[in-house]
Amino acid sequence: MDRLTKVVRWIDYRLPFFSFIDHELREYPTPRNLNYWWNFGSLAGITLVIMILSGIFLAMHYEPDTKLAFDSVEYIMRNVNYGWLMRYLHANGATMFFIVVYIHMFRGLYYGSYKSPRELLWMLGVVILLLMMATAFMGYVLPWGQMSYWGATVITNLFSVFPFGETIVEWLWGGFSVDNPTLNRFFALHYLFPFLIVGVVILHLIALHQHGSNNPLGIDRKEPRDSLPFHPYYTVKDLFGLGIFALVWAYFIFFNPNFFGEPDNYIPANPLVTPPHIVPEWYFLPFYAILRSIPNKLLGVIAMFGAVFVLFFLPWLDTSKVRSATFRPVYKWIFWGFVVDCFILGCVGAHSPDYIYDNLGGLSNQILGQVTTLLYFGFFFIALPLLGLYEKPNPLPKSLSEPVLKGKKKKSVEIQSALFALCFLSITPLYGTDSPPLPHEVWSFQGPFGTYDRADLQHGFQVYKEVCSVCHSLSQIRFRDLAALGYSVEEIKAIAAEYKVDAIDDEGNPIEKTALPTDKIPGPYKNEQAARAANNGALPPDLSLMTKARVGGPDYVYALLTGYELTPPKDIHIAEGMHYNPFFPGEQIAMTPPLSEGLVTYSDGAQPNVNQMAKDVVSFLSWTAEPELEVRKQTGYMVLIYFIVFTILMYFIMKRVWARVK
């Protein structure tokens, strides 16, 4: 017996750590017939760990103060080493977490994993879902953008329907509106809740290991050959699943990081203006749709909470003794109908209540929402109880090993995949956006291989400096950041020297001194009041994040800059001091057409026309919004290649390991 074994024995005799791991993770008997839908539990666990890790490291840089929060998130994106990676990992991680957990739950619903003796296992899962929702909601508030602020306002106001609602809401806020105390407590709780989730996950696992996993046939294991040790059979299968999952997650982080986000959240919170189109994150959309479908405040809120809480009663609402839908000819179809219903509810939530589906014969979003809400509750309160009484289930196999040997499983897997595809197809008429179409331009930085063109960026910076900067600030950019445009240290010093920044002299008097490369580019106005006073009451927005903060991004900004029309259509009345621009929301804009022929001569002597200037300045503003874009994509390729290799390796190991049982 070597020394290491001795040490392990000594510890294990006193603290049975190693035998616990051995028992629960290695030899733990698992049904031999689990399919890939059983991968999502372990994926959820891994996601939780990654979310906690990335969250802790983000919290080291984040400032939970209404004056600093938004900028501190941008600070993370621009200055902290790999800060953009941490933030996109975390933000897209929330989406990944919900995808995985929702699939995990639908799997439980299909195979009856909530039925005796696993009722508490299921209910603990619902508790985890509730905690996740609370955590995700509070986390979304932290960047303190427009959606953060108005999401916080709307969700906390849900509690106003209860008795003493006003008092409850003010207690939640710590004031009379969502403000600094709210942000502070949300940060504290957003840090706490994931650890509560870990606690409930441990209970969830204890409950799981009491009777072991359910399986696709839904029948109990009877003989030893029905089970396999968890390791290596399911560890390797989970690792293979992890490889695929990581590829999807990495795609979003590195190549489409704001796909699930709302552009409005790149506008700093403004308590006086609600964004015109306010939607929650996608994972709340079905519940949001239920809330809106009911034209009564109290009933709407009750229905919305009810849509989650009904899951607690699922084990008793489903009266069927048969677990797996494989042997329930009617329930199988009802289940897929329910999945489609949830998808449609999501689409309903994504569109405004007044939206009309032209491609569905003028169906109104309100009606569709009400029908699908009824179907949602109908599934739980009508279909599930009645099916158990009237449905005639198919004969169950005698043991787990029996149908596996027959090879009958293959067919049902194909049907399942077909149905899954059908779910997505069935709702394609519901896709589409509310916003008007924009002309598409070709940008060098688009697509997975796109990079910035240094010459375009320098030209664009010149346009910004000579034209836009008269009214618009660029508060996230420091002079030294311009090195990314290809300027040398001396050139940057010279650029900075053209600007003055506020300082205090040795006697305490406010003075102006020459800007240094480390200073932020100073804005044209001292404060918001000065900016409004100089612009007819309108506030010229900061441009640092402009291409990320508008639907359509660079295309929108380009269309706006080049889309002015001197003579508006006859039926539109243009107010005093406003200009007609069909691409601006409301079609009237205070900004005078900013670009004109001959306004700027590039330092290389070129005389750009208006379209060229617009194109260059939009390229420049795309860089100010996403300075990490190039390094992000480069890192992305390495990560994708790594996980492709990882997944292929795990696939072959899995085949090898499983060859022993088949």
Partner: protein, 193 residues
């Protein structure tokens, strides 16, 4: 458990090379991946880009009269910039090395041709207190340099420790003369480009 081990062994006997190769590769790939995954987390705690960018400070020396000193902040640390009088320079140069706790010549502590300027990190090498003596009103101790208020260490006009408990002379930050009256603290040479 024993059964499993036996099964393992017999299996490996059949086709050891390929299986071992696959498992070893997977282990290596996993280890490399974990290390690469950990790196962004570790590196996110290093000084951020803006903090690194502020790691040089330019100082205009012209307002400092002989015999006086100013304190500038570099990387959050006080830097003593002192214009020495000819007497102070002579005093520093004439001390025999044998009389020093941490022997070092005065020439080694200033830039050639600029020996009236003494630039040191103003942190006592004992336990990190800030010595007094940088302002004209403060006590400079009997060696005419600085005196640490915490545990009584004394420094001379070259910033060298003359009485303990401090073990070492005051540190010299990297700096360079841009012109005769301008220095940049944080770099030993000015890079162009």
């Amino acid at each position: 458990m024993t059964e499993e081990t036996v099964d393992h062994a017999s299996h490996e006997k059949k086709e050891p090379t390929r299986r071992d190769f696959l498992f070893l590769t997977a282990g290596a790939v996993g280890a490399v991946g974990t290390a690469y995954f950990a790196w962004p987390f570790i590196d996110s705690m290093s000084p951020a880009a803006d903090i690194l960018a502020q790691s040089t400070v330019d100082v205009d020396l012209s307002p400092i009269p002989a015999g006086q000193a100013i304190t500038v902040v570099w990387r959050g640390k006080p830097i003593f910039v002192r214009r020495r009088t000819p007497e102070e320079i002579t005093m520093a140069e004439q001390v025999p090395l044998s009389a020093l706790i941490d022997p070092e010549t005065d020439q080694a502590r200033v830039k050639t041709g600029h020996n009236e300027w003494l630039i040191v990190i103003g942190i006592c090498t004992h336990l990190g207190c800030i010595p007094t003596g940088n302002k004209p009103t403060q006590d400079r101790g009997k060696y005419g340099g600085w005196a640490c208020p915490c545990h009584g260490s004394l420094y001379d006009t070259s910033g060298r420790v003359r009485r303990g408990p401090a073990p070492l002379n005051l540190g010299i930050p990297p700096y360079t003369f841009l012109t005769a009256t301008h220095i940049r603290i944080g770099v030993n040479e000015v890079s162009h480009g």
